[in-house]
Each structure stands twice: as C-alpha cells, then as structure tokens.
C-alpha cells in the first residue's frame, strides 16, 4: 500500500467544487509534484490531507491511518509535515525556538514533567538543540539563531519554515510552493535541499508553479485543473500532454 493514498476526495466551497473526486497515491521514497493553474485545488488538497479543511467526501489514508476529520496537530504527530504558501513562522520566537517547538510535541510529556523539567526532558531538549543547530547550519541560518524569527527576510523565513518542517524527521513532507517569490540563487538552493531529502529516502509531495523546478526534480507529476486530476506521469510525458497544455494556455 502506498504511504499516502487519496481516494475520491471531494471538497465544495460555496458555488465552487474545489476538489472533484481526486485520487492520488504517493509511494514511500517518491518525489511527486502537484501542478495546475491557480485555483485548481492544489492547496485545498494539502489542507484536506493535513486537517485544516474538512473534506465533503472521500478519504486520505496515511500509513493505514484515515486522516478524514483528524485535526492538524494529530496529523502532524502521525508523521506528516507541511509548509504553507504564505511564509509561516512564529515571529516572536527566536529562530532556534522556531525549530525546537516543531519537535517537542512529538515527544509528548506529562504536563507535570514539563513543569518540573525532569532529567529525561532536559536530555531530550539538548538532543533537540543539537538537531536544530544542524538544520540551521544546513539552511545557512546559524548566525541568526537567536534573532526573533519576525526579523528575518522573506527568503530567510522561507528557509526557516522548511527547516522547521524537517525537525521531527517526518515520514511525509508536503511543501507548498517552496520556490515561489524568492531569488534565483535561493530557488537553486531549495531545489538542492529537496533533492538531498529525496536521496535520503524521504517522501515528498510538492506544490510548485516554477516549472523548471518541477520538471527538474520530480519523478512523477500530477496535474489538477478545476479540482479534477487531468493528467499524471513522468515530467517528459506531462510536458507533451495535450490536456495539460490546454489547461495552462487555453485552446
């Protein structure tokens, strides 16, 4: 069974069918891209999988767990990490704390243990610190570790959000437009980061508008248009697919 299986997912917003019986399967270790014109339902699909939006029909199954009607924090703890299209950090936490907070809830502790700061908790915390520093190093934010995350530039916040999603070592990573609105150097950086994850065997589902990135790194591309899946296949085939060309450029 695939790591993530989406079956017949339906979502209506007032007057619009955002998702129209979408099927999608992502195998362990795959790097899959989700593309489609604006408003085609890509982010809604992410939101349905991660519990931010309740689906009107169908299911999303992750490692055998039905994610339908599961709230975001539980989906996260099952091992699904996601980033947001609008850059999302905790502005008043420091850069380092932004990473730490993404791991600690996966090490559920009694309230009392947190209040008393038990020895076990302090050990977990120092391991988390080590991991956070390694990730900061990876994305080049080590010098900003103690700055408030709100003081970072747009691109830096994007890198921070990416690193934060990696903190709990998730089984599935959903990235929503990681290369949008950043400069070409950073686009290449992002591309390298995602490829590196793929080589480590991580499973990645990517929403991205930058076709160069999508075609370069994806093993498989899924195309949505008006909430329907209109095509699916390796990048080369998608590039030549008549329905995809029509969806993007019109007739």
């Amino acid at each position: 069974m695939a790591l993530l299986e989406v079956r017949g997912l339906v979502k209506h917003f007032i007057g619009v069918t955002a998702l129209d019986r979408v099927d999608l399967a992502v195998e362990r270790g795959e790097l899959v891209s989700l593309i489609g014109p604006n408003g085609s339902g890509k982010t809604t699909l992410f939101n349905c999988i991660t519990g931010y939006v309740a689906a009107d029909g169908g299911r999303a199954i992750f490692r055998g767990n039905d994610l339908t009607n599961v709230p975001p924090h539980r989906v996260a703890r099952l091992g699904v990490a996601r980033t947001f299209q609008q850059v999302s950090v905790f502005p008043r936490l420091s850069v380092l704390e932004n990473l730490l907070v993404f791991l600690q809830q996966h090490q559920e502790e009694h309230l009392l243990a947190r209040l008393l700061r038990t020895r076990r908790l302090r050990r977990l915390e120092s391991e988390a610190l080590e991991r956070a520093r390694r990730l900061l190093d990876l994305v080049g934010l080590s010098d900003n570790a103690d700055d408030a995350a709100g003081s970072l530039s747009y691109g830096q916040r994007k890198l921070l959000a990416f690193a934060a999603a990696l903190m709990p070592d998730p089984d599935l990573l959903l990235l929503d437009e990681p290369a949008a609105a950043v400069n070409p150097t950073m686009i290449n950086q992002m591309k390298d980061h995602i490829l590196a994850l793929h080589r480590q065997g991580k499973t990645v589902l990517l929403v991205e508008h930058n076709m160069e990135v999508v075609m370069d790194i994806s093993q498989r591309v899924v195309v949505l248009d008006h909430g329907q899946k209109i095509a699916e296949g390796p990048p080369d085939a998608i590039r030549r697919d008549a329905r995809v060309i029509e969806a993007y450029f019109g007739r």
């Binding site: 924090h73 996260a76 704390e97 996966h106 502790e109 209040l115 103690d146 934060a164």
Partner: protein, 321 residues
C-alpha cells in the same frame, strides 16, 4: 538585572514594613495597606497575563474567577469553619473548575467574540453574586471572614493578625505565583503557549493542540486568580459583589498592557505603578484622577508596548521574558 541588584531589591521589598515604619511612622498602617494591595494585584495581574500575554486570548472574565475564589473561601471559612490553607486551595480549585467548564464553549469563539463572551461571563458572575442572596448574602456582603491562621491541623499554628504579617503573607503568595509563572512561560511549555499565540495554524502543523494549551493557560490563570481572591477576602474580612465588577478588569488591563504584556518584569512594574500611583496621588486630591489619566495617556502615546519596552530600550537588552 545583575544578581546583586536583584538581591538588594528583594531585600528592600521584604523589609518594606520596617523601612516605612522608620521613614513615616504615622503613615505606616496606610502605606503597608497599599503595599498589600500592590502585592495582591501583582499576583492577580500575573495570573491574568498567562492568558492575555502568553496564549494571546483577550479574556475579560478574570473578575469572575477572582470572585468565585473569594466567595468560596469566604463561605467555607465563615459557615463551615474551614482552616485558612484549606479554603484557599478550595478557592483555587473552584475557580479552575468553573474556568475549565466554561472554557470549552468560550474557546470555540475567536478574538473579539471570545472577548465579548468572557465579558458576559464576568457580568453573569457579578449578577449571581448580587442576587443569590441565600449563598452570597448579595449586597449585604459576607462579613466576619477570619484572619488567616497558618499551620496544619494538629501542628503549631501561626495567626496572621498584624498588617506587616499580612504583607509578608501576600508577598509569599506573590513569590509563589512568580515561580509558577516562570515555569509556565519558559522552556517547552512557554514555547507551546507562545506558538499558539503567534500563529495558531502553524502551531497545529507543529503538533500543538491550540485548544488544549489555551484551556490550560485559562484554567491555571483562573486557579491563581481564585487563590488571590481568597487572600483578598481574608485580608478585608468582607467580600462584596462590587469587588468583582468590570472595574477590576479595567484595572488588570491597565496593569498588564501598560506594564508590558507577556513580560514578568513589565507586569510587576505595571502593578506597582498602577496600584501605588493612584494612592500616592491622593496628596493632590483634586487633581488625582486628572493626573492619573494624563499619565496613562502619556504611556500609551510614548510607549504603546508598555513600560517594559521602555526599560528594555533603556538597558539595550534583548526582549525579556
């Protein structure tokens, strides 16, 4: 603040009744009375800041929890003869239970609706206190609440009868609240609270259940407010419905927001300034409220983030906690 300076400050605060006695013997009773109020208000404001400052929910229900605690202690002490320490704990528990029960539906509301809902709860609590005459005696107030006696059943007991004695009791309570406040607002718990406050959807993606942490802060804040209410009732020996009106909310809002929301130092400074200041201004009775209002305006205009941000800029330090 350097360690030495902190120690000196703590020493001065603890020795305050003697210092006052030496400096102004004839005013001692009055000044110590103001100091007791300041300590109690500081503790209450810290409990309030757990909710508004650290999980970012603008609750206006704090007088309700303060009142539930005060009435619980007053009733248990006068009618059931409960010992002081027992009725203080019962007061905290009663306020916490009320908060946990009303918190679940209230936190379904967001932002402004939440504020209005909690304001409603505060009003209902006040109306109940006024009208449930069988239990609260309504506007006749509960009187004759005994002075606190510290000690466990069977052991030695220490009655707190003097004003300085009560001041040290209030100070001990404040110290306990400060310790708990710091434990709650730093490290992993504090981080989870602040994550919910800063960005709720992202907190979900980090595996944090926003409702759980909001309820936790709300309930602990209420428990502490209930305990302070009990100390307050024992101190005044009278508990009336007027003690839990919206005026109390306004006071807390002034202390927390003009002091420094989400900051231990800011809230403490706010409590000292905005409890002691109106009293100090009694020296100029005619102009008292005018001066007080002008000072409030000045702080709002010059430093909208509260006095804490001024202190921070003055010391050139990083954001304090």
């Amino acid at each position: 603040m350097p360690r030495a300076a902190t120690l000196v400050l703590v020493g001065l605060v603890v020795a305050a009744p003697w210092l006052v006695a030496a400096a102004a013997p004839r005013q001692q009773r009055y000044v110590v009375h103001v100091l007791i109020f300041t300590a109690l208000f500081a503790a209450l404001a810290l409990s309030y800041d757990l909710v508004v400052g650290h999980v970012g929910s603008l609750s206006l229900a704090h007088p309700a929890f303060f009142g539930v605690g005060a009435y619980t202690a007053a009733i248990l002490a006068t009618r059931a003869g409960w010992p002081f320490l027992a009725d203080v704990h019962a007061a905290a528990l009663a306020a916490a239970v009320v908060a946990a029960v009303v918190g679940v539906p209230l936190f379904r509301l967001t932002e402004h609706a939440f504020a209005v809902g909690t304001l409603g709860l505060g009003l209902v609590a006040w109306i109940v206190a006024n009208n449930w005459v069988d239990v609260t005696r309504g506007p006749l107030c509960i009187t004759g609440i005994p002075k606190p006696v510290l000690g466990l059943p069977g052991g030695p007991a220490l009655a707190v009868t003097t004003l300085p004695g009560y001041y040290w009791l209030a100070l001990a309570a404040l110290a306990a609240v400060v310790l708990l406040y710091r434990r709650l607002t730093t490290f992993r718990l504090g981080r989870a609270f602040h994550a919910v406050r800063d960005n709720e959807p992202l907190a979900g993606a980090a595996g944090i259940d926003p409702l759980k942490y909001r309820l936790l802060a709300f309930t602990i804040g209420a428990a502490l407010a209930g305990a302070v209410g009990a100390l307050y009732a024992h101190y005044l020996s009278v508990m009336c419905p007027e003690e839990m009106t919206v005026a109390l909310t306004v006071n807390l809002l002034v202390i927390v927001f003009l002091g420094g929301v989400g900051s231990l130092r800011g809230v403490l400074v706010g409590a000292v300034l905005f409890t002691a200041l109106p009293e100090a201004l009694r020296l100029a009775p005619t102009w008292r409220l005018v001066i007080y209002g002008a000072l409030l305006l000045l702080v709002v205009v010059r430093s909208p983030e509260g006095i804490e941000s001024l202190l921070r800029r003055a010391s050139g330090a990083r954001p304090g906690r």
